[in-house]
Symmetry: none
Subunit: 263 residues, 2 copies
């Protein structure tokens, strides 16, 4: 259902490099956006290099709309956010991409048309362009190195938009995982291990046995073992101890043979 | 003060294009990261094209460390997160970049060394590489278009890291816990266990050895072992196998006695 929400459009104002327009299309597709609008792309439109750098995310490019004036590109939008690294002296609210995404999500749920505006690679957005927006989005970048690639800026805001959509259905991630083993299976494994460690003299001194047992159990409890993993670990215990068993059997056989010989 | 926190390092495993390595350096600089580690870069290192595409973010490239083995690149880390679009069938926790960043921030406040691991452009990470990590980071990408650029993946996780610095520091919620063992200690334990299991014939049939090793490692990776726990588990291995050693010694002594007797 949230998939049916109207998504924000992405408006690039005077973008310069076709490669960057392609990279923008790619990240839009990564995060489920498709409505791309170009205002006065420097080298004209279409540009083959954009498709080449979109890695197959062709649809935002195929459907891209080109405008002469920013005002026309944003005409149908109810809410426009301008992304800029350097908020100029406009008296607009300044939001993080996360805050902006939350507001865009709320607006989309009201059926509003929304857009994210980005400036060209070199000059960014002019104050007059920013003044068309309802708020400024500023990415929390290190002031020591502010040169953020255009497609990266789009990616971060598009990612935050998508995060607002993804808030609920996370359990789908783990649906096909095996369930954790139940406690009886776990305890069976613990006792198997502890029995073998008792036989080997591991728990020494004896009064420390309870805390040593506890510490070992916690290691495996934290790991949230599946039943299959419990079986694997029991196989490990058997493998590590069976050499001993084999040798014991050989020893017993040799002794029996010796005794028979000495009769 | 939070600027003095140890930042996560970025490990690129078998990166292909030098341009992408440069783009990664650029986004690292954007979000305040600087420790870049390269494992078997396809075209060798250094590569001029990396510097050309870093747009002036030279310092992560100048200081980049190159490794032959992933194990060596991650040796000193206490916490390693593997970013992959396709979580394979490892039983590791799957986190969003945001959740991972929160955990990295908490770990940094405990003075731990942390790292973010990324696979190469084409193949991504192999399951055996992922098995070295304590958790998987998956970017919530549109399943209809999963081809995320490497530098974009780094940008999103680095951005989330930086967002945690903008919030106030979460109190170190595990303050009195021992720190996790580092990867070198972990790998030493894995190899100890695997050597003993090799000796016991556990890995059968031989062609299944790699996946069996992986599954075992993941069990312990999930557990986030402390150094003390690693030592305990190595003691467990020794205890389980030494019975065998003791019995062998006894057998050898008996045989020697028998041979002496028959002289």
């Amino acid at each position: 259902m949230s998939e049916l929400l109207p998504c924000p459009c992405v408006i690039l104002n005077e973008p310069q490099l076709a490669e960057n327009i392609g990279a923008v299309a790619r990240v839009m597709a990564n995060f489920g956006l498709s409505d791309l609008r170009l205002v006065r792309p420097r080298d004209g439109w279409p540009q083959e290099r954009a498709w080449a750098s979109a890695s197959g995310a062709d649809w935002p490019l195929n459907d891209a709309k080109v405008f002469e004036r920013l005002e026309d590109a944003v005409a149908g939008l109810n809410l426009l956010y301008a992304t800029t690294a350097r908020p100029r002296e406009t008296r607009l609210p300044i939001l993080t991409p996360r805050e902006a995404a939350a507001e865009l999500n709320a607006a989309a749920h009201q059926g509003l048309n929304t857009g994210l505006l980005f400036g060209g690679e070199r000059a960014g957005l002019e104050t007059q362009d920013i003044a068309l927006a309802q708020a400024i989005v500023t990415i929390p970048i290190d002031p020591k190195f502010r040169s953020l690639n255009l497609a990266q800026a789009v990616a971060l805001t598009a990612y935050e938009w998508r995060m607002t959509m993804a808030d609920q259905p996370r359990e789908a991630f783990r649906a096909n995982e095996d369930p954790p083993a139940d406690q009886a299976e776990l305890i069976g494994f613990y006792e198997h291990l502890e029995k073998e460690l008792d036989a080997s003299g591991f728990f020494y001194p004896p009064e420390k046995r309870p805390s040593m047992v506890r510490n070992l159990r916690v290691i495996f409890a934290r790991s949230r073992l599946t039943l299959q993993e419990v079986r694997t670990l029991r196989g490990v215990i058997t493998a590590l101890t069976k050499g001993r068993g084999r040798v014991l059997a050989r020893l017993a056989a040799e002794r029996a043979a010796k005794e028979q010989g000495s009769q």
